[in-house]
Symmetry: C2
Subunit: 202 residues, 2 copies
């Protein structure tokens, strides 16, 4: 990308910041900036306001690690949710994905990542202590560890399970299997083996 | 996409607005929102500020149709530019693309689109009258019509040429080298430079 200045400093700065938004690159950022400028009243002004409001109001839930505009978050304080079941996820994006799936009426605990010694991420960098404390405080009967099926995810799941030793909680994990709509010949052997081992009756 | 609310209304609204930004869709908008929330101080707050500043300051140049924070725009008032050569473009994005190519030290005229009877876009919807007036006022010796190599672009170019009948100005167009059906914004700088160098008379 050329660094030639093509507009005033305010527009240049806007393009540079937009280019840092995931999903946009330098070229998309220019198109986005121009679109925003053209839709000043319909889009740019409301977006500026929504961002400013989010900057002011969004906070991390002190109970579960979710992001919301209230603390504790609206999931933690939702009386219709079954607080006895807590789904442990790596990231808020996973919480959102599970909520969209709408499969469980449970509460959550967001770890904030996975253990990764090579990247210098240890247990103290994740919300593990608060998870153990939450279980120890009572009221949680099942912990569904819904971390990614990666080496780091599984290492983190095992570490958490060890930390919960002696506490009265059932620890489960997501089933391995063929994704709904997935084609067998695109799946790796590990997934296929797991799907075969966990086969169910028609 | 599920319409299930996965976060507070402020975050939902931010996601909905981000989804309207070109380059982002509903899924990317959620990822973008989450990234912005995580980088609140480094990215979300500065972006909110840059957008608010742009909302307040960005304006359309009354001379050429470019967008800038000053009117007339900084290209129109740049004394180092050759005002005798005016490049006519459809959109500000084309102006930006030509500026990045850096091939011509000229001024511009932004039409704001192309003639498109089917879409109800007539001459009065474009900055054509102001272009003719600008040429009639004198001082412009060459008009380079750098519209897209589409049917609408070429129709618009011919219409403009007709309007300039009798005025003392040389009208040229970009050389072939611009792919038929191609949009300027997507072309590499070398192609744009070559097309400008090989411009031909109407
Ligand atoms: Zn919470
Ligand atoms: Zn101007």
């Amino acid at each position: 990308m050329s660094t030639k200045r093509i507009a005033g400093p305010e527009i240049e700065r806007l393009i540079q910041l937009l280019a840092k938004v995931p999903g946009l690159g330098p070229r998309s950022a220019r198109r986005a900036a121009l679109h925003l400028i053209k839709k000043k009243d319909q889009l740019m002004a409301p977006l500026a306001g929504a961002l400013a409001e989010a900057v002011e109001k969004v906070t991390v839930c002190s109970v579960c690690g979710n992001v919301d505009t209230v603390d504790p978050c609206s999931i933690c304080t939702d009386p219709r949710r079954d607080g006895a079941t807590v789904i442990v996820v790596e990231d808020v994006s996973d919480l959102w994905a599970l909520e969209r799936a709408g499969a469980m009426n449970a509460k959550y605990h967001v770890l904030g990542g996975t253990l990764s010694p090579l990247d210098g991420v240890g247990p103290e960098d994740l919300n593990i202590r608060s998870l153990v404390d939450r279980v120890a405080a009572g009221g949680v009967s099942e912990l569904i560890i819904a971390v990614n099926a990666t080496v780091e995810g599984q290492t983190t799941a095992h570490f958490i399970t060890d930390q919960l030793e002696g506490l009265d909680v059932k620890v489960t994990r997501l089933a391995h299997g063929v994704p709904v709509g997935g084609e067998l010949d695109y799946l790796d052997e590990g997934t296929l083996s797991a799907a075969l081992r966990s086969r169910t009756s028609f």
